[in-house]
Every structure is written in C-alpha cells, then in structure tokens.
C-alpha cells in the first residue's frame, strides 16, 4: 500500500476508476435497446441491410451445407447477410453460455433438447408463437416433433431435423467373421449378449463386439423407456436406485461375457467426440449412435458401416429432434432470424441442400420433394428411421434443468463402476442421491 502514496491520490485514483467502470457499464448497456423496439410477430426486415450471426455445432460437412443454405438466402434477399460460428459438440454450450452472459449471443442458435428448458426458462430464447402462421410455417411438421420444441405449451425452438436411436456397426469387420447382425435386431438384451459375445470370440477381441455404453445417458434413457420409465419425472429423476443398479449390472454382464468392450476401450469416446468414436478407430464393431450420424461415421472410416435397432422392445425409441434452431431474445432483428429459420425447415431448395446430415427433414412436404433424389446412403438412413419410428414410444417431455450435470454424473459413476472401483449398487446409490440434489438445485 505504501507505494500508492497519500490518501488524496488514492481518492483521485478510485474516483477515476469508478468513472471508467461506469462508462464501461454504460457502453455495454447501449446495445440492448434495439431488441425491445421489435414487435413480436412483425414482418422480417429485408429492405434495410441486416446482418445476422448464426452458430451451431458439427463437423466440416455440416458447416459446408449450412453455409450453402445461408448463401442461398442471401442470394434471394441480398440485404440479409450472415456471419457464422461453428465448432464440435464438446464445449459448444460453454461458449453459448458465455456469449449469452455478455448479452452478445448469436441471433440464431442451434440447440438440442437437452438445454431447451434451461435456455427458455432463463429468457435466452424468443417465443416464436407470434410468428407461427405468417413468417413461420409449421403445418408440414409432425405435431409430435414440433411439440418437442415447446416448453409449457409455448414454441421456443423449431426442429431442424429428426433422428432416432440406433446401433451403428462395422459391416466390413463383421462380414469378415461371418456374423452380420440380424436386420431387425434382437428381441432381448440377453439374446444380444449371447450373439455379441460370439462376435468377440470370433474376432479375438480385435475389434470388441459392442462398445461399453454404460456412461451414455441417452442410451440409459432408451433402456429406461423400454422398462416403462422416463429419465425425468418433471424436475425429479424418473428412475430409482434399483433401476440404475440394474443398468450397471447389465453392462457388467456384457463386459464379463465379452459382448461389450472393457471401459478402458470405451472411455475415450465418453466425452462424445466423434473423432474418438470406437467404430471409427476400429476398436469396437458396434456403438450406440443416432441414425443421421451414419453419414459422418462413414466418412471417418474406410470400412462399410450400417445401422441396426437397439436390442429389446422399440418402445425406447422416439422421433427425436436432433437439433433445433432458436432465435436469441437479444438479437438485432428477431423477425428476420425467424424468417431464416423458416427457410431452413420449409424451403425445398434448402431441404435438398441439407439432405439428412442433421437428420431427416422435419417438414413432410419437403421430405417428399427431396427424398427421391437422395443417394443410397441417405435412403438407407431414411428407411431405417421410418422402420424404427413406426414402432416408437411416446415422445418424452423436454429434459429437466440440470440435464448436463446428470450426464456428467452418470459418466463419472459409470467409469468408476466400469473400472471396478465401485460396485454397481454403491455407484447407483451415489449417483441417484447426487442426481436428485443437482436437479433440485438447478430448478431453484
């Protein structure tokens, strides 16, 4: 303190700093006013120059297709131009959160259902109902699918595409040992266990038959639904300690029989990075996935790949919104953003460009126009999706707030159990206690 000298100079310094702080705050506050002038449900602005920022997660293929659609929109409405931001899934939401905290999020934000409740309840997303019927055409979108974008009956998010749960398999590796999976999957997990253990014996662990998916919360959700439960019961866990114990024990059995890989083989892919996908790295012959991701997987390996339904009843499946587009409440021009979102889902030209990279086109009319021109792989995905969704169960409610904590907890616990550091029952008990606490806190 001595360095700073007399009290008077100190006072001057503090005063100066305070002024600067006020100026900085004022500068931040200035930008927000435009959003409130906008009228909900008003017409899109195309006569004056508008620049919109669009952000999404995904690989280079998605970036290319998305850019093409944006360029097409600019071609039709030259006053509307775009800046874009994209990256991989891991870390994507951290970035959205940070920009939102700085009141500087992108105008159009791609999200999935995991954060929909969180984002809408925190006022990040514009309510889209005022635009429905005029700027935003949703009548071609399946009612159930559109419902997944609603929270408390208000539309916040438009599904960009639909997908469903699947197991992707390495056809080349399985053909080599003469054990292709049955086309319609397996009636029970026990049946799958026997078959997959046979695969691992035939290949001599290289590759293992199935990746250990015990850390995967979306497959856990599927399995819960097969047992007549849901992941969430409102803001509470929809499962009990017994359910989680049974889940961990199932994977314990699969690992012991050789049907599933050890956790050490599975772990690098637990964070959800597609480049570490164990089918792509050829350490397992099968892995859980969404059907639309087959395109990306096929690019990542020189082997042929295919899709097979998840073992057991298909009541676990549902037509899932793979991604949504949402409009940021603090955006410069929400009406135009809504028009761009509409362009992505209801314009046949845009639909033809997008294909099934994000999943199947959500709009039935667009799907009917563009699907005849699909290549064989896209047609294969479409056929798989329609087959499974025909038997799918009801669409689950939008995930609770705190879903990301739940996913992280399941991962850590499943890894503990998978490496034998905890018994299934102990792990399950700890997980359920912590999960309930996190969910309760997230809602408060």
């Amino acid at each position: 303190m001595a360095i700073l000298g007399s009290a008077r100079t100190m006072r001057t310094l503090f005063a100066g700093a305070a002024v600067l702080a006020v100026l900085a705050t004022a500068a931040c506050g200035g930008g927000g006013s435009r959003a409130s002038d906008q009228q909900a449900g008003g017409p899109p602005e195309r006569e004056q120059p508008v620049q919109l920022e669009v952000t999404w997660w995904g690989g280079p293929a998605r970036a290319e297709l998305t850019q093409k659609v944006l360029d097409l929109y600019t071609q039709k409405h030259p006053n509307v131009t775009f800046t874009t931001q994209w990256q991989g899934y891991s870390g994507y939401y951290d970035k959205v959160n940070t920009t939102a905290a700085g009141r500087n999020a992108a105008d159009i934000i791609q999200i999935d259902n995991r954060v929909l409740r969180e984002y809408s309840s925190k006022g990040l997303l514009a309510e889209l109902d005022p635009w429905v019927g005029n700027t935003l055409k949703v009548d071609g979108i399946d009612e159930k699918l559109l419902g997944t974008g609603k929270v408390d009956d208000k539309l916040y998010a438009v599904p960009l595409a639909a997908n469903t749960q699947a197991i992707a398999y390495d056809r080349t590796a399985l053909e080599k040992v003469g054990m292709l999976p049955p086309e319609n999957g397996w009636a029970t997990w026990e049946e799958f266990d026997t078959w997959a253990a046979g695969v691992t014996r035939a290949t001599g662990n290289a590759p293992w038959a199935m990746r250990d998916e015990s850390a995967n919360i979306t497959l856990f959700e599927y399995w819960l639904r097969q047992n007549g439960k849901e992941l969430y019961d409102g803001q509470k866990p929809g499962f009990t300690t017994e359910d989680v114990t049974a889940w961990f024990e199932l994977w314990d059995r699969l690992r012991k029989s050789g049907a599933a890989s050890p956790q050490e083989v599975a772990q690098p892919a637990n964070a959800g990075d597609i480049s570490k996908n164990t089918v792509a790295t050829k350490s397992t012959a099968m892995t859980y996935m969404y059907d639309n991701q087959l395109t990306e997987l096929a690019k990542a390996t020189d082997h042929e790949v295919g899709l097979v339904p998840i073992p057991g009843p298909r009541s676990g499946a549902y037509a899932r919104p793979s991604q949504f587009f949402t409009a940021y409440t603090g955006g410069d021009n929400i009406a135009t953003a809504v028009d761009v979102i509409n362009f992505f889902v209801s314009d046949p030209e845009a639909g033809a460009i997008l294909g099934t990279e994000r999943g199947l086109p959500p709009n039935k009319q667009v799907r009917d126009v563009v699907s005849p021109n699909f290549d064989d792989q896209l047609k294969y995905v479409l056929a798989y999706d329609e087959k499974v969704v025909a038997d799918a169960g009801p669409t689950p409610p939008v995930p609770a707030q705190g879903d990301s904590q739940l996913g992280r907890l399941l991962q850590a616990t499943a890894e503990n159990v998978g490496f034998g550091r905890q018994s299934p029952a102990d792990g399950a008990e700890e997980f359920v206690t912590q999960a309930a606490g996190e969910l309760e806190r997230a809602a408060s």
Binding site: L20, A101, V265, Q267, F419
Partner: protein
C-alpha cells in the same frame, strides 16, 4: 515476506515522504501518470472484477438472470454438500504434491548437466527449454493425448520390449500420472533459473571442498545445494502456485470432463465446469475465493518453511 519487510527498500523510504515539498509531489504525479496504463489495467481488469466475483460468491447467479443474494449458501454447500468438490481438492493436491518436486528435480538435474561450458551447450540449453515455451498450449495436450492413448506411441514403444500396453489416459489409475509427467517434462523455466543460480556459486568453494577431500556427491550436498537454496526456494514458490493452477492439460486431455471417473477433475477444471457448463457462476466464484485463500495459506506456509532450509550467503552481515 517477513524478510523483505525488515530490509530498507525504496518503497519503504517512499512510505513516509517529507510532506509539503513540491518537487517531490511533482515527481510522484509524474510517476502515477507513467503508471496509469498499468493502474487502469489493475483496477479495471483485475481488481474490480475480483471484487465483483467476491460479491457473486454470495449469490445464486446463472449468467442470464440477475444475481440473487443467498449469503453463505455456496460456501456451505461446497464444504458439506458436494462430494465432487472434495474429489477435485484431492486430485489437485495429489497433482501438485507429485508434479512440483518431480519437475524441480528434473530441472535441477538437467541444469547440473548443462551448467559447465562444453561444446554445443547453448544448443542443448535452448532445446531443453523448448517444452516450456509450448507449455500451456492446447497443441501439446493433444500430442500427449495421442502419445498416451490406447493406440498411441508409448504403447507401441512398450510393445517393442514385450510389455503389454495400457490405456494410460482412459484408466483412472494412470490418467493423473500422465498429467504429472507432462508437467515435469516442461521443466525449462525452473531449469534456466537454476542455471543462473549455479553460475553464481564461486568456483573457489568447490576447489576448497575438493582440497578437504569432498567428492562430487558431498560437494553437491554441502556446497551446491545450500548455496543454491534461495534459488530453489524461489522455484518452489513459483512452481507450487503454478502447480495448483494447472488447467489446460487436464481440460484438454480429458475432453473437458475431468474424466476418467473424475480422476483428472482438478480444482480449476471443476470450477470451470460449474461456472460455464452448469450456469452456477455464484458457486464458481465462491470456489475461486476459497482457492485464492487456500493458495495464500499454502504459499505462506512455504515461506515460513523457508527459514528452516534456505541459506542466504549474506546472512552474516545482518
């Protein structure tokens, strides 16, 4: 800290300026003017946000809505209701306690090898310093991930000797160990400081010791180490602080999760996940303040311990 306060320093003299001498004041004002860019940074970018985070630590703040005052709830929850918090404390302690001594030992060892003037020694010094330059970078963390991965080069190397490989990064028993090795590998900065310290030791000391019949090892323990202890002390302080703050490598290698099984969930990584992943900025701020205080206590402890083992050559003068 105690030491420096006793010594007369320029700052100490300044503390009691003769009042009313205009020349002095002018000088002071000029000083502040020159300091102002730094002061602006200190107040605007460091001090005010820090104070704001202290305020946030008593609130429930989700980044998007206004902070809501909750008193000591965040602190209470941290100490009594969050097993992951203690898990991260344990991982961080384990990481710092193993990586700091290992890194310093390697740095000192290499400095001893490189301090004599031999042909090409300059080249080696530069080469050994390179890892430190790359130190905090994401690229190195990714290289590490690849080297130690299940199909990585380390396992390839072990296979040559017939040793079965392991999933170093994926196995909770080894994952933190790979981070420790990565930290130790970046020994360049303390090494350079050790080199400078070694250069300061008068050669007569060694000659005298040799005349008295001391061998290489005895010379090291009784001449080199005591005379180097102030430099060692400096390195211990810096590396301890840096060790506790490790983030990049753990974050990148674990894919941003602190996995496997939370084994690499260092304090800073957990803090980040709470703040930016879970929207719990109030809780994260409280964690940051607990961290600051804990680091302060640990540093003070290291300083205290210094009086037991640090030998200052000029101590006789005081």
């Amino acid at each position: 800290m105690v030491d420096t306060a006793v010594r007369p320093t320029p700052a100490g003299r300044h503390a009691a300026p003769p009042r009313g001498r205009p020349g002095r004041r002018k000088e002071a004002i000029a000083g502040y003017v020159f300091l102002s860019p730094w002061l602006l940074g200190l107040f605007g970018i460091t001090l005010l946000p820090m104070l704001y985070s202290l305020y946030l630590s008593f609130t429930d703040y989700d980044l998007l809505q206004d902070p809501e005052w909750v008193g000591l709830e965040n602190y209470e929850r941290m100490f009594t209701g969050d097993p992951q918090f203690w898990n991260s404390v344990g991982a961080t302690l384990l990481f710092a306690i193993t990586s700091v001594p290992l890194k310093l030992a390697v740095a000192l060892g290499v400095a001893l090898l490189l301090y004599r003037n031999r042909r090409g020694v300059g080249l080696y010094r530069s080469l050994y310093y390179v890892p430190s330059l790359l130190g905090g970078s994401v690229a190195i963390a990714i290289v590490w991930q690849t080297l130690f991965g299940g199909q990585g080069a380390i396992n390839g190397l072990l296979a040559v000797f017939g040793i079965p490989g392991r999933a170093w990064i994926a196995d909770p028993a080894f994952a933190l160990g790979t981070l420790v090795i990565l930290a130790a590998w970046q020994f360049g900065a303390p090494m350079v400081i050790f080199l400078a310290g070694l250069k300061q030791i008068p050669t007569e000391m060694f000659e005298a010791a040799a005349l008295d019949g001391a061998g290489r090892i005895k010379q090291f323990w009784h001449v080199t180490l005591p005379l180097l202890s102030p430099v060692l002390f400096f390195n211990v302080v810096l590396e301890t602080i840096a060790g506790f703050q490790g983030f990049t490598a753990a974050f990148v290698i674990s894919g941003g999760t602190g996995g496997p099984a939370d084994s690499t969930l260092l304090y800073t990584v957990y803090l980040y996940l709470r703040g930016f992943g879970d929207f719990q900025m109030g809780y994260a701020s409280a964690m940051a303040w607990v961290f600051l205080i804990a680091l302060g206590v640990i540093t003070a402890f290291v300083f205290r311990s210094g009086s037991l083992w640090v030998h200052y050559a000029d101590e006789g003068d005081r």
